[in-house]
Every structure is written in structure tokens, then in C-alpha cells.
């Protein structure tokens, strides 16, 4: 048991030797955990902070949607259709006279939810399959890797369309489709990480002690594969939101009247010349949220990459 603990500690210190060369005394090195260090790096990255601000803004907007607006997202008023932005309607109204700001706020809920659940689903199943494939190797790896190959053989949005075509168009099915197309991305990432970890001495030591596979996987392999998974999850969040918007735009996602940004774009297509704001605003919203996740993801990757520390 003691050996295991020591190994774990030394493993955790690994990202730090670069610092050891500088004039820090050893006490200080012990004090910085890799996660704190990452956070410190991230805080210095202005782009990542900007990304975080954008995401937090949209999360708050989504949560407070009923409080920040006096309209409901499906309240139609044909007299007020296609009004430009004004004090009454901050971002104008759409072709049915619905308040666009309200629909954007409620749409933020939908987009962030889709992103969250699709990424979580893909992450859980992808990581699990990746670990099983990488850790057990042989025919298990063969089978799982071929499944990944098959899923990756389709352009992702096309596979999503195929899945929705099978299951029927709804928010839930769009979410499932997006999760499925992202499974192999996490799966391959984790698999390659596990294969490189499997040969590490501390894993062999754990095996020599007679530790069970499950314990080795969850206590030793998984914690050491976390960094690339987090980066991929953050970037994947943005991709998932784009994919959801694309499905919504094609009418294969959320069904009306629930507001979804991609679908708002599809609805407003015909009014672009007389009411450009009906298209500009949902598009910019999608772009900002995805940009936010990309900025954080890039920042995290740099912060977690020991090569970038100088």
C-alpha cells in the first residue's frame, strides 16, 4: 500500500520538474499541486479568461431567463412582427412577433443543455470503451477499435442526421445523436493514453501487489488520463453546440415552439432583407458560445502541456 501511495505522489509531482531547476526551495514545490498550477497558468491567459466570461454570461442568461425578460418565448403578437431592436424589444422581434432577446435567453438553456448532456454522454461512454480497449488489448481492443472506425467512417453531421432519421426528430434524439458521434473521439484519445500508461512501472507495481483490474483502472489509470479528456470535453462542448444548431437548422432538433438558435436561423431565413437582426443575433450567439469554449479549451491545453510552460 505504501509503495502505491508513494508512486501516486511522485506521479503527481511529475509536471513540476521544470520548476525544480529554478531557485525554488523544495517546500514550495510540494505545495503546488498540478491542478493549482494549471489554474495559475490559465489565469494568466487573457483569451481563456475572455472565453470564461462569455460562457458564464450565457449560463447566467439561461438560468435567469424568466427574470431578465417580461415576455415568454412563445408569446406571439402579429402586430409587433419584425420590429427592429428598441427599448421595448431589446433585440427586436421575429416574424411571429416574438421577443428575440427572450428567445435567445431561453435558447441558451437549450444549447448549453445539449452541449452538457451530449458531451457528458460521449465522455462517459467514450472513456469507458477507450479504457477497456486500451487496458485489455487483444481482441477486445480489436472489436472496440473497429466500432470506433465505423463511427468515424461517416462525416459526423451525416451520422447525426442518420441517427435522427432512425429515431425521429426531437431534442432528446438530437442529443443522443450528438453524443454517439462524439464517442469515438473520446474513445480513441483515452485508448492511446491508456496504452502508454499501461507500460508504466507503477502500474506494474500495482499489478504485482495483486490489485484488481477495476481498482488499477479507476485509481491509477483514470486520474492520469484526465488532462487530455478535460481539454477534449471543453472543445467538444463547442462542437456539440454547433452540431445541435445544425440539426436544429435542418429541422431535425428541437421542435417548435421551444426556441433553439439554429432553428431560429432557419425560421428567419426569408426575412433577412427586411429584418436582418432576426438572423444576425442568433448566429452571433452561437458563434460567441462556441468561441468561448474554444478559447477555454485552447487555454487549458496550453496550461496542461508541460512543453508550453516556458
Amino acid at each position: 500500500m505504501e509503495i502505491k501511495e508513494k508512486d501516486k505522489q511522485s506521479e503527481q509531482q511529475l509536471p513540476n520538474p521544470a520548476k525544480a531547476g529554478q531557485q525554488f526551495d523544495t517546500d514550495e514545490i510540494e505545495a503546488i499541486s498540478p491542478w493549482k498550477d494549471t489554474l495559475k497558468q490559465l489565469r494568466k491567459n487573457r483569451f481563456a479568461i475572455a472565453g470564461l466570461v462569455i460562457i458564464v454570461f450565457f449560463i447566467i442568461l439561461g438560468i435567469l431567463a424568466p427574470l431578465v425578460t417580461s415576455y415568454t418565448y412563445d408569446e406571439q403578437s402579429l402586430v409587433d412582427r419584425l420590429l427592429p431592436p428598441s427599448a421595448e424589444h431589446w433585440l427586436g422581434t421575429d416574424h411571429l412577433g416574438r421577443d428575440i432577446f427572450t428567445r435567445i435567453a431561453y435558447g441558451a438553456r437549450v444549447s448549453l443543455q445539449v452541449g452538457f448532456f451530449a458531451v457528458t454522454g460521449a465522455l462517459v461512454f467514450g472513456t469507458l470503451l477507450g479504457i477497456i480497449a486500451g487496458y485489455f488489448g487483444r481482441w477486445v481492443d480489436m472489436v472496440i477499435s473497429r466500432i470506433f472506425d465505423i463511427l468515424l467512417a461517416f462525416p459526423s453531421i451525416l451520422l447525426a442526421i442518420a441517427i435522427v432519421a432512425i429515431l425521429g426528430a426531437s431534442l432528446q434524439n438530437a442529443l443522443i445523436a450528438i453524443a454517439v458521434i462524439n464517442i469515438p473521439i473520446f474513445g480513441r484519445l483515452v485508448r492511446s493514453k491508456v496504452i502508454s500508461l499501461r507500460e508504466e512501472e507503477y502500474i506494474m507495481a500495482a499489478k504485482a501487489q495483486g490489485m484488481k483490474n477495476g481498482r488499477i483502472i479507476f485509481r491509477h489509470i483514470l486520474p492520469n488520463s484526465v488532462a487530455p479528456i478535460i481539454v477534449q470535453a471543453t472543445l467538444g462542448f463547442g462542437t456539440a453546440i454547433l452540431e445541435a444548431a445544425a440539426l436544429g437548422f435542418l429541422g431535425l432538433g428541437v421542435q417548435p415552439p421551444t426556441p433553439e438558435w439554429g432553428q431560429m436561423l432557419a425560421d428567419s431565413r426569408d426575412f433577412i432583407q427586411i429584418a436582418p437582426w432576426t438572423l444576425i443575433i442568433p448566429g452571433v450567439s452561437i458563434m460567441l458560445v462556441v468561441l468561448g469554449f474554444n478559447l477555454i479549451g485552447d487555454g487549458l491545453r496550453d496550461a496542461l502541456d508541460p512543453k508550453m510552460k516556458n
Binding site: 473497429r146 466500432i147 472506425d149 465505423i150 467512417a153 461517416f154 462525416p155 459526423s156 453531421i157 451525416l158 451520422l159 442526421i161 442518420a162 432519421a165 432512425i166 429515431l167 425521429g168 463547442g238 454547433l242 444548431a245 445544425a246 437548422f249 435542418l250 431535425l252 439554429g262 436561423l265 431565413r269 433577412i272 432583407q273 436582418p276 438572423l279 444576425i280 442568433p282 448566429g283 452561437i286 458563434m287 460567441l288 462556441v290 468561441l291 474554444n294 478559447l295 485552447d298
Partner: protein
């Protein structure tokens, strides 16, 4: 080399089987009776029975799958329920339209992306570098269908510079030979029509090519920065070569390998993006073919359209993999 190609081809077999299983499921996993779903709620029982009979839906799944695959192997992609014609005989113009669009989008993405990446690396931390990378970041974050709509609005509807819809002037069509309209117009030596076709290509190509362009630019930049630090570049510099020669003759050769990987991957992504772009620009390509089939519940077309796109995607990936070994002799398999 030969052994590698053979192994790579063998690995395709399970992938192709998996692909056909998925497209097969599109019809057979839809909840309820497929014939009922295809014909709609109001269909009478005889029509449903007839369709079930003609689609072989009464056989066990395994037999149905066997028939499906053996038809595919013989080049039979089924019959469209809407046009009532053989899919294999009507699909080529759609594929050609998508290819033409994809090729132009990729040319746009490569020319702008690679050069922007090179200049960004060359003038690292300059305002050009900053702007180009910001633009690239925004480019990958943008929904391409939104970009397409914006382009259409600004350049077609407001400014009237470029056509907003279709592949050509529908009142003055080209007599198709290859169905690559640029090529067809050139074969006819019909330069005014070639110009019209090119004009129709500009907006959709830019919409489709923007994401790959952004990704290529970022990849080229980081790859160039890495290579520019290497010893042999220092040697070339010591020799007294000009900066332009160093970059385009010496550095680019090594920096381009990871960029090619990205280009290969992005070509496949373009096939997916084509569905959205084609829908917006009324581009009669295979993406739009599939999308319209979804609206008409034309399941044989959905099945075969998706299968054909996936097959093209797999072949592109295969070609890219084989090309690596030619470009970089260090890669051994």
C-alpha cells in the same frame, strides 16, 4: 508499400460492413412498420402490404440484410420512392455537383489557409499574426450555415455582385457531359458560361471552405514555427539564403506534412458540411439530395445517399493515408 496498402484495404472490410449495417438500420430500426412510415398514416392496407412485399420486409432481418448487401455489391442502390427511378442511375449529377463544390472550397481553404499560416509564423506576434489567428478562431467557431446566409444576404441580395442560388443560370443551362459544370463549359469552349458557373461557385465555396481554412491556417502556423526553430533552417540562414527562399523552399517541405493530415481530414468534414451549404444555396448536390429525401421520407435515397457519402469519405481517408508514405519516407507501417 504494397503490403501496407493491402493491409489498409483489408481493414476497410469491417468498416464497410459496419457502414452497411448502419444504413440498413435506418429503415429497419425506425419505430413501427417501415412501410407504414414511408406511406404515411393514411395509407391503406393493400398499399402497405404491396410495399412490404416489394421491399422484402416480410423476410427475417438477416435475409433482408443479405439481400441488401448483395444488391449493393451488384451496384444496385435501390429505387427512389419519389422519382421512381434507379438511385444508381440518377445519383451521379448530385455527386459531381458536390465534388465540384468541395474541390473549390478546398482550393480556397488551402491557398488562403496555408499562406496565412506561413505569414503568421514568419511575422510571429505581428498585427497580421494576431488578426489572422483571431480570424481563424472566429472561423472555427462560426456555424457555416449562418456564414452562408450572411454571404447570401450581403453579396447576393444587398450588393447584387454574385448569384445566391444554384449552380448555373437555369434559363441558359449547360449541356452536361461530366456534370462538372466548369469542366463541361470548358469542353464546349463556352467561356461566358464557364464564368457564370464560377460566379455561382464563389459564395458556397467560401462558406464551405471557411472552417477548413481556419484549421489549416492554425496548423500551418504552429508547424512552421516548430520547423523554423530546427538546426537545418539555421544552417540555410547561415548560408545567406533570403527569408522567402528559406520559408517556401526549405521550411515548407517539412512543415507541410501535419498540414496535409489536416487537409485530408477536413476534406471529409467538407462532405458533411456540404449538406448545410447545399441546402442554403440550393446547390443540387448529394447533401441536398439526402436532405430532401428526409423531408419526403424517401428512405431508399436516405440510405444510399448516406452510404455513398460515407464510402467517398472512407476512400478519401484511404488515399490520404497512402499519400503520407509517399510524402514522408520516414513514416513506415
Amino acid at each position: 508499400m504494397f503490403a501496407y496498402i493491402m493491409r489498409r484495404l483489408l481493414m476497410l472490410i469491417p468498416v464497410l460492413i459496419g457502414m452497411t449495417l448502419i444504413t440498413f438500420s435506418i429503415v429497419h430500426l425506425i419505430p413501427g412498420n417501415p412501410a407504414q412510415v414511408i406511406l404515411g398514416e393514411t395509407a391503406n392496407q393493400t398499399a402497405i402490404d404491396d410495399l412490404e412485399e416489394s421491399m422484402g420486409l416480410n423476410e427475417p432481418y438477416i435475409v433482408q440484410y443479405g439481400i441488401y448487401v448483395s444488391d449493393l455489391v451488384q451496384g444496385d442502390l435501390g429505387t427512389s420512392l419519389r422519382s421512381k427511378s434507379e438511385i444508381s442511375s440518377e445519383i451521379w449529377p448530385y455527386i459531381a455537383a458536390t465534388f465540384e463544390l468541395t474541390i473549390f472550397a478546398m482550393i480556397f481553404a488551402i491557398i488562403i489557409g496555408v499562406n496565412a499560416g506561413i505569414i503568421s509564423a514568419w511575422k510571429q506576434n505581428s498585427w497580421f499574426d494576431f488578426l489572422a489567428m483571431l480570424f481563424a478562431l472566429v472561423g472555427v467557431s462560426m456555424p457555416i450555415f449562418w456564414l452562408a446566409l450572411m454571404e447570401q444576404w450581403i453579396f447576393a441580395q444587398e450588393l447584387g455582385w454574385l448569384p445566391a442560388y444554384g449552380r448555373q443560370d437555369s434559363r441558359d443551362p449547360i449541356a452536361p457531359i461530366t456534370h462538372f459544370y466548369v469542366l463541361d463549359a470548358l469542353i464546349h469552349l463556352d467561356f461566358p458560361r464557364a464564368l457564370t458557373v464560377l460566379k455561382h461557385l464563389i459564395l458556397p465555396s467560401i462558406a464551405l471552405g471557411t472552417i477548413p481554412m481556419a484549421i489549416i491556417a492554425r496548423m500551418t502556423r504552429s508547424s512552421m514555427l516548430e520547423v523554423m526553430k530546427s538546426d537545418y533552417i539555421r544552417t540555410v540562414r547561415a548560408k545567406g539564403s533570403g527569408q522567402f527562399l528559406i520559408i517556401y523552399k526549405h521550411a515548407l517541405k517539412n512543415a507541410i506534412i501535419p498540414v496535409l493530415t489536416v487537409i485530408g481530414l477536413q476534406t471529409g468534414v467538407l462532405l458533411g458540411g456540404a449538406i448545410l451549404t447545399e441546402t442554403i444555396f440550393s446547390w443540387p448536390g448529394i447533401g441536398r439530395y439526402v436532405y430532401e429525401a428526409i423531408n419526403y421520407r424517401d428512405y431508399p435515397v436516405i440510405q444510399s445517399g448516406i452510404l455513398v457519402i460515407a464510402f467517398i469519405f472512407v476512400i478519401i481517408n484511404l488515399i490520404v493515408d497512402i499519400l503520407y508514405t509517399r510524402i514522408d519516407p520516414r513514416i513506415k507501417y
